[in-house]
């Protein structure tokens, strides 16, 4: 009988058979994520090593972008390596802003949709619905101007947008959800509290 080693069957290279990480075609995929402890939920900074989650089991595809994230090497300034992964001309857009943009496009599309050749993609509908349902503010155009002062203190655009999207209630929540801001806590905490107060005034009633 063929031995596959400790914990391995001859057919299964390890991992759970019914792991949902398996793709439909039966390939095992490896989710590469840096600096993450799946048990404690903490995220200590590491040197960019690609660690697998508990779905690791045998050969599988590596994540296209996350395998060796160069962003994590410079993650002292921002946990979000997204700025390094995307081109320089990228502008982060909050959900409320995206809702306005996409709604405008949909209004134009309604006229064009009378042409049967033009089909509105599913991802557009999903994107618009998501943006509208997660837009917490009555005046979306004011949100960015309220958050702008944080940019002068070194907060990245992605971090600003996450604050705008999540709409935290307390400064504790901000620093818990965006750990990369903790290094600047002493300088920005007062401003964060003020900004959250301002954002609270713009919030839509539940």
């Amino acid at each position: 009988m063929e031995k596959g080693g400790k914990g391995y069957s001859s057919l299964n290279k390890g991992g759970k058979d019914d792991s949902p990480a398996k793709s439909a075609k039966g390939r095992r995929v490896q989710f590469a994520e840096d600096s993450f402890d799946p048990i404690s939920g903490s995220s200590p900074m590491s040197g960019g090593k690609a660690a697998s989650t508990q779905f690791k089991g045998g050969k599988g595809e590596k994540v296209a972008n996350g395998g060796k994230s160069t962003g994590s090497k410079s993650s002292k300034s921002s946990e979000f390596g997204i700025e390094q992964e995307l081109p320089k001309n990228v502008k982060c857009v909050m959900n409320c802003e995206a809702a306005d943009i996409l709604q405008g496009i949909q209004d134009r599309m309604t006229m064009l949709s009378k042409d049967p050749a033009i089909k509105i993609p599913v991802s557009f509908d999903k994107g618009l619905q998501y943006a509208k349902s997660n837009s917490h503010y009555t005046k979306s155009e004011s949100v960015r101007s309220i958050l702008e002062p944080l940019a002068d203190l070194g907060v990245s655009e992605a971090e600003l947008c996450v604050i705008g999207n999540v709409c935290p209630q307390t400064s504790e929540e901000v620093f818990a959800l965006i750990p990369s801001l903790k290094v600047r806590r002493s300088t920005i905490e007062g401003l964060v509290r003020e900004i959250l107060r301002e954002l609270g005034k713009l919030k839509k009633p539940m």
């Binding site: 792991s19 994540v63 081109p87 502008k91 995206a98 991802s123």
Partner: protein
């Protein structure tokens, strides 16, 4: 998260579309080809918002098609590691639950669900705290953190966690 980005693409146009409506035909073809697609680098292209530049066309030898380099602005949706976002639960099973945020699917393993939440099978499978005060079931809204992403040919799939502070259920449909 949504991004507004300028991308470039080489569009091939058949000579039948030439004429005074050439630019309109080019833009229509661009939107048809690009909207709804997904790439590893940029994520889902949700909508084209404008055309920045259409370069000079180059006739391809042998076919008669003309290739135009087109620079366009578009809104893309791309999740990234560490991002906090709100998603709607679509399926719950003993391994964890699936949720959807826009065009992106996210899986949260039972290992990344707080330990005080247990899986309850039945007609409406769910994860519930021991005192029954918090429940995660289909259509629940949850705030989660992305900890990993995988890109397929046509979609992005993410792994998330709700085990950190300030993460978890926002809205339970049973209480509405």
């Amino acid at each position: 998260m949504f991004f507004h980005i300028v991308l470039e693409r080489n569009m091939q146009l058949h000579p039948r579309y030439f004429g005074r409506n050439l630019r309109d035909n080019l833009v229509s073809k661009l939107m048809k080809d690009v909207e709804g697609t997904c790439s590893g680098r940029h994520g889902f292209v949700v909508a084209v918002t404008g055309i920045e530049n259409v370069g000079k066309g180059l006739i391809r030898d042998g076919t008669g098609f003309v290739t135009f380099p087109v620079k366009y602005q578009c809104v893309v949706f791309r999740p990234f590691k560490g991002e906090i976002l709100e998603a709607v639960v679509t399926m719950v099973n003993k391994m964890g639950f699936f949720a959807e945020a826009g065009p992106v699917q996210i899986f949260v393993s039972n290992h990344l669900i707080p330990d005080d939440m247990e899986f309850q099978s039945g007609d409406m499978p769910n994860y519930t705290t021991s005192d029954g005060s918090v429940k995660i079931q289909k259509d629940s809204e949850v705030r989660l953190k992305i900890i990993g992403t995988r890109v397929d040919a046509t979609e992005i799939f993410c792994i998330g966690t709700i085990k950190d502070d300030f993460l978890g259920v926002i809205n339970d449909p049973a209480t509405i």
